[in-house]
């Protein structure tokens, strides 16, 4: 591996191995930020497609370019986007210090968007260590809204929000514990 330093800034206090971690995480974060913008579609479109399209792949026109971001041969991140859902899969180095940093940073990033995401997928996509499925929660909320006409809707929704946030964090935490 080339250890030639290029560019204007040096990462002091970091080993050469770690020097690509920050740009790798930044790239993933930027790509996710952009992909998540696409999740704020008007709900009348999403209501017709209420299953996560990225899982079903039932309509090719609803799928966008999948994005593969490799840090190197052994570490990569696959981001698959559709009209109403987004799937992120990670392959990390086994038993590695950096893997903890990556998963912790990642969990923090996703937690910041706790209102909008559910961690639904427990089995990783083939070839990866972990996969998250992110659906547009607010649109799901609207669906539930339709089903429960004659109940106090605000109360129902805020309770739902609470349970999803908690469940989402619990699932993510439990899942990631195996890597720590």
């Amino acid at each position: 591996m080339s250890s030639t330093r290029r560019g204007n800034h040096h990462h002091h206090h970091q080993s050469p191995m770690a020097s690509t971690l920050r740009p790798y995480l930044t790239c993933i974060r930027n790509t996710l930020d952009a992909a998540m913008c696409l999740q704020n579609f008007p709900c009348q479109e999403v209501e017709r497609h209420n299953k996560p399209e990225v899982e079903l792949k039932s309509s090719p026109e609803l799928l966008l370019n999948p994005v593969l971001i490799c840090r190197n041969e052994a570490e990569k991140c696959l981001i698959e986007t559709s009209i109403n859902s987004l799937r992120i899969s990670l392959k990390v180095k086994q038993a590695d210090e950096l893997e903890n940093i990556l998963t912790k940073k990642f969990l923090r990033f996703l937690s910041m968007r706790a209102e909008a995401f559910q961690v639904l997928r427990r089995k990783p996509v083939q070839g990866y260590d972990i996969s998250f499925l992110i659906t547009n929660y607010h649109c799901e909320e609207m669906q539930k809204h339709k089903l429960i006409d004659f109940i106090d809707i605000d109360k129902e929704i805020s309770e739902l929000k609470m349970s999803v946030n908690t469940r989402g964090r619990l699932v993510a935490t439990e899942f990631l514990k195996q890597f720590i």
């Binding site: 560019g7 204007n8 790239c27 952009a34 370019n65 593969l68």
Partner: protein, 135 residues
């Protein structure tokens, strides 16, 4: 190129490959003159980058990859690169990131960070949503 773009058929692929080879020679010449930014512009320009079959796209990628790897001063490159090239560069960066080749990923990650700062998330969004013009 004054000719209108035609729908690519098998025999047109040869014409595209020839143009790419011509481009490649031009890029090598520019790199010898220590003009990596000019080389990159040459590599990125031309709408035919996204036409043609997989063979054409691979040939084009090889040329762009050469130019990308020759960049040492990323900040300098981005300040002299016309914004019209941002979107096409972004597409090639993602192609580079998908290779898994360590030096390529290293370089593409460095450029991706700075290009996103300069071009914004919209640049990434356009890459994600353009399923027609792929590199």
């Amino acid at each position: 190129m004054a000719k209108a773009e035609r729908f690519v058929e098998a025999d047109n692929a040869e014409a595209i490959i020839t143009r790419i080879e011509h481009k490649s020679r031009k890029i090598e010449s520019l790199l010898k003159q220590y003009k990596p930014v000019e080389a990159l512009k040459t590599a990125l320009e031309g709408t035919y980058a996204m036409t043609g079959d997989e063979r054409c796209k691979s040939a084009h990628w090889i040329v762009v990859h050469r130019a990308i790897m020759a960049i040492k001063d990323v900040d300098g490159m981005l300040s002299s690169l016309d914004p019209e090239y941002y979107d096409i560069l972004m597409k090639y960066l993602y192609r580079g990131l998908a290779t898994g080749d360590r030096p390529t990923c290293d370089q593409c990650l460095r450029i991706h960070e700075k290009l996103t700062e300069k071009a914004g998330l919209g640049c990434i969004l356009r890459f994600l949503t353009d399923t027609v013009n792929t590199v």
